[in-house]
Point group: C2
Chain length 736, copies 2
């Protein structure tokens, strides 16, 4: 079952059934379990019996591997002189610890690239700098709510845009629809309160759905959230840019470059490891809240002076009939106002203890903020009779009409733009972390486990930036056209996580389980309604991409998992069993016996050196081969008998010191005859391990490489596919 | 001097000073000279003194390298059963000869690619199939003249196009200009007669100019000819397509795809190794000659009926004044009629003996054909008052007016189209051969030495097809706009080759040298005039590309030569000297001493195995390393002290059989700390040779590779740049 898989990876933590949210740079090197360690001990005993003839055989090293502890290594500085630079310092348990100097690349282009990277993201941070941030509730509220609160900047407008298709008369439907959405927000909020209590170590939809519903639902939730994060970046930036171009219409042609610039800045900032550092994020969030409440208060006060009689909207001819479908579409569009509501549940470990209680309180505050802002704005927009326009956002129209063109209007637009950018930044935190969790479960490529120089998940950050920038460019920065894609992914994740909680409560039946189950079922059911509504009503408008994309990506994740599992299975040490005290034999002979054995005494060597000409690189390769003290066979491949004779004469002149076999390839093929010849050699003696020693002239630049045949590379690429064939390259460097 | 370089490569031949035109598939493996062989003998003696302890040490092979002579190797057929397929058969001198079966690729994608290639170009030919074709004079005339005779299909028109810019009145200048061109043709023809006598083994411009004027002039001639060949393909195909679209105007929109299709057919045909097989080429050439002579005869007869009074051309307003510049431009354009006149001099070895005499006779016939056709056509066009038009070639107009729209007109157009395609095919023979000669002199990348499956120079053929197709597409198949580019390259080669002959005669002063020198000086001088005229008058029309391109490409060729010379110098065996009977020491210590030595006794080994996890691939790599019987050091790189401790515990459980050094890399860099550590190890003992043994999981598909870190590849790429560091990959294959 999914539950066992999840808890088997990573250090155990939390309540024992759910995986921990703790992030470690050692995740790339998972620890072996006890069974593997036992097998390791068995294999080691076999080695001991082999090495008994000469127990000190391997302890005589020609060098000191500890480099002479506490000594400094002289290294040339970039000014050409030698300075004593500390590359390694001794660790606490006898290991060598690489210093920052030891991260320097050894090629010139590598160093240039590293310098560029350092200029953008700063110097690397040590692994020990991974710390779990803790936030006060007031800070957490600001940090975590930027995503959901910023959604009110485009949610109501999206709803009106859908309604106005039925003419300006249909706009009055915004009030009942807004009411329904408020109920939805409260239900989902209550539902997440239950989730937080049950998963105090982190209650992301991927974890909750995997844990209770199984692997595929978990993956569906994860992929849904990934769509959400990518689209959050695209939509938030599009809305932020729209807030700016509403105030400064002359910048409108620059909308797409501006958005891409913002993505680039977010990319660089997040690669640097910009944390959700409290004060930096709290101020704009509260500034935005203030702006919204002042705007709502003034707008309602002005409306009160008019006796709350709504300004009639300008007459707009309907382009389609008012239908249930249209109303549902407007509802699904408006539901985008609540994307981001799940942020608190992902971030529980970031609260001060008791984490889950503080997180729950913060979530409640957040829902109150969301509901009041959303309903206040929807009401104010209705009372002012505003209609969506291509040139100016509805929020901008409202602020304009309420405050006039003065500084208060500018304040509203500026805080709106900033909070939208912060919301995009939230996705830059969440997306790579989700990929990390997925990679830890082998559902995503292992590169997403890797922590970059600044302890950020650079690969995930890069992937998000590239994808979001591509989508932003393809849709030319038009918010509305992106929203259909949006709701499906988010509400899929909401639904699955809450349905998962229903299963959770039903299985556990702890205290208060009936009430919790009720709230989760209500939230899940309503989310499912929105999900279906969005998927159906927006299918032709672009939601089909998500509807098709999610199963496709889930399938890909499962294939990735299968591959990693297979690798793990065949490389794991429990592939061998101990037979009758005789040592270790493989449990499945076809795996272990067909290649190199695990014990050194079973290997019979033959070193094969392909030689084209008797030149210095070739003689070095021959000397290298001969010096290893194993049987050596030189092979010369010739296009013609004539040339073969010439080569044999050279070999005789040299002294015929090694066995030589001349292969004539009259069809001038090089790699295939050599491969077939090596196969034929191995066929004579199955336990033979062939080591092909290839002399190779190393040139540095790409252009110089074009002038050489790359035969070594071609040979290596082909030979690596051959069993029990080891490829060795003896380099020949040009003098500087 | 150039002469010595030239004769030092390839088997000696001809008169001893010029290189031979004989082509051999062994050219990729040049034979060492006597000095190198002497050094080889010295080095061998050193090995003998090392191996004296155990002289049979290397003769005990665990397998029979000759594979059990005369035995057949069983191999699985594609139907899954085992069949006895002969991969290798014994050669005459004890070598193994690979059969065609042994050229089969070992990967599935490789086999699919090979099958596709075989479907297009046919099964591979053995090297022994290289034969020097010999042609009778009448066949040779047809084969070699297709290029130059086809030029009269566009040459006169190009001249008229230049003249008509000064209005239709200027068209009458075509007669005196044509007369001057006839004189030029005769002079150049006489000049080439001298060249053929002096270079009976092949008198290509590259060879003649290199031999007499030096390397750079030789390269200039070669690059000029390369421009010529590329443009011959583009211009001939454009003219051939124009001949078709003149007759079938409704096909005009398809001109570019038609031309590209023809290039593709020529490419495939030449990759297949379509030889200039006599009858195939002779028939269309003679058919074209017949067509032209009938056309000229009828046109002149019709004019004679009119009393040779020229039909006045339709009035055309001048777009520029009639100036000396314009006349020179028309002259240079008309000179494109004689491109291809050098064909005979390249092909002397293809004649029956006495080659040079038969070649000279053929050249004379060819010049007669060229002069009569060119002058007849120019006169006929003038007498009929034809002017160039965008829709119909002048030749088509002439045939139309002379024969009406009947079958005779169709015959003229069809033979014109075919001979133009044959001319393009000539370039497909000459261009790759020129590149082969250049590569043999190290002036071009070595891949152009390689003979493909069908013994054609596939790489050169591909390069010509791609370049010509690109030019044809860029110029949208417009012949006229290509002609400015044309004349400069051809006449540069003509001039340099004939000036080279002047130097040749002056140096030798053999019998008749004065007369020969005179003819060559006349031809060279007139060619130089055309060259200058073309370069100056057409500079702004596109000739600047050639004027700038030639020096650039010559510079590139010289850089290529420098690189190859350097490689040859540092890899050659004469880098060592024998010192006082003590053995061999390097002549230049910085070259040979700093890396692996040439004698096996000087190498001190340390095998280093980087291990990430104690899994099956890692244990196999350790077993492989330990079984070689040399000191082994395992290195583990860890991102955290915590993980390092965990690994050390596993190592203890295994039994601590090998020395282990744990490196902690707190900045999570992998490759750089390892490289710095290896450097630090080597710094302790300068004659140490490090062999880095990397365990590697081999996955087959590209997609699977994305799921792995490719650490082995990255490590190998970096370590190959380190001196005295050998990289070995121990593969771990997934079970099928």
């Amino acid at each position: 079952m999914a539950g066992t898989q999840l808890s088997s990876s990573g250090p155990a933590g939390g309540d024992g059934s759910a995986p921990t949210a703790v992030i470690s740079p050692s995740e790339e090197l998972p620890a072996p379990d006890e069974g593997e360690l036992a097998t390791l001990r068995q294999i080691g005993r076999r080695w001991a019996s082999v090495l008994i003839d000469d127990p000190e055989r391997f302890t005589r090293l020609p060098v000191n591997p500890a480099l002479g502890r506490f000594s400094l290594e002289p290294a040339p500085t970039r000014f050409g002189r030698f300075a004593r630079i500390l590359m390694f310092r001794p660790g606490e348990r006898g290991e060598l610890v690489a210093t920052e100097q030891a991260t320097e690349e050894s090629t010139r282009s590598g160093r240039a690239l590293a310098a560029l990277k350092r200029a953008i993201v700063g110097p690397p941070l040590a692994s020990s700098a991974v710390v779990q941030e803790r936030m006060r509730k007031l800070v957490a509220l600001a940090v975590l709510s930027s995503d959901v609160l910023s959604s009110v900047a485009y949610g109501p407008e999206a709803m009106l845009t859908a309604l106005v298709a039925a003419g300006s008369g249909a706009l009055s439907l915004s009030l009942p629809l807004g009411g329904a959405l408020v109920l939805l927000m409260i239900a989902v909020g209550m539902s997440y309160r239950q989730t937080i209590r049950a998963y105090p170590n982190g209650a992301g939809s991927y974890i909750v759905a995997s844990d209770n519903l199984g692997e595929v639902p978990g993956l569906c939730a994860a992929i849904g959230l990934m769509f959400d994060y990518v689209l959050t970046v695209s939509v938030s930036i599009a809305a932020g840019v729209a807030a700016i171009t509403s105030a400064l219409p002359e910048w409108r042609p620059l909308a797409v470059p501006m958005g891409l610039l913002v993505i680039a800045v977010l990319l660089a900032g997040n690669l640097r490891g910009v944390r959700q550092a409290g004060n930096l994020f709290a101020a704009p969030s509260y500034a935005f809240m203030l702006a919204m409440y002042v705007l709502i208060a003034v707008a309602l006060a002005q409306a009160a002076q008019r006796g709350f009689s709504p300004v009639p909207p300008p007459p707009i001819a309907p382009t389609e009939a008012l239908s249930a479908m249209l109303i549902l579409r407007a509802f699904a569009s408006g539901a985008s106002s609540m994307t981001g509501i799940e942020a608190v549940s992902n971030a529980i470990p970031a609260f001060h203890p008791p984490e889950w209680r503080n997180a729950r309180t913060t979530l409640s505050w957040m829902v109150v903020l969301l509901v009041t802002m959303f309903s206040g704005l929807t009401l104010s927009i209705h009372l002012n009779g505003l209609v969506p326009s291509a040139d100016e956002t509805v929020l901008s129209q409202l602020a304009h009409r309420t405050f006039g063109p003065g500084p208060l209007y500018g304040y509203v637009q500026a805080t709106t733009a900033v909070i939208l950018l912060l919301a995009a930044n939230t996705a830059f935190n969440d997306f790579p972390r989700l990929l990390y969790y997925m990679a830890r479960q082998q559902h995503a490529p292992r590169i997403f486990l890797r922590m970059g120089d600044r302890l950020a998940f650079s690969n995930g950050i890069l992937m998000l930036a590239v994808t979001a920038a591509a989508i932003f460019t393809i849709f030319k920065g038009q918010t509305e056209s992106l929203i259909p894609l949006y709701a499906v992914g988010v509400f899929l994740a909401f639904t699955l996580s809450q349905v998962g909680m229903v299963v959770h409560w039903w299985r556990r039946r702890q205290e208060h389980w009936r009430l919790s189950l009720f709230f989760n079922a209500l939230g899940g059911g309503l989310s499912a309604v929105v999900l279906l509504t969005a998927a159906v009503t927006k299918f032709t408008e672009g939601a089909w991409i998500v509807v098709i994309g999610i199963p496709l990506l889930v399938w890909t994740c499962l294939r990735i998992r299968d591959h990693y599992r297979r690798i793990q299975r065949v490389t794991a040490l429990h592939e061998v069993v101990d037979v009758a005290g005789k040592g270790i034999v493989p449990a499945r002979p076809n795996v272990a016996r067909r290649e190199l054995e695990e014990s050194p005494d079973e290997i019979r060597h033959l070193l094969v050196t392909p030689i084209a000409q008797m030149n210095l690189p070739a003689l070095r390769a021959l000397a290298y081969a001969a010096s290893l003290g194993q049987p050596v066979l030189a092979v010369h491949l010739s296009p013609e008998e004539e040339e073969a004779r010439r080569f044999r004469r050279q070999w005789q002149i040299w002294g015929n010191h090694l066995p030589l076999e001349v292969l004539v390839s009259p069809y001038r093929a090089v790699v295939p005859p050599l491969v077939h010849y090596l196969r034929a050699l191995r066929a004579q003696r199955p336990n033979l391990v062939l080591t092909v020693i290839i002399p190779e002239i190393v040139v540095r630049s790409f252009w110089q490489r074009l002038l050489h045949s790359q035969l070594g590379d071609r040979l290596r690429r082909t030979l690596r596919l051959q069993r029990a064939t080891v490829v060795t390259t003896v380099p020949f460097h040009l003098p500087e």
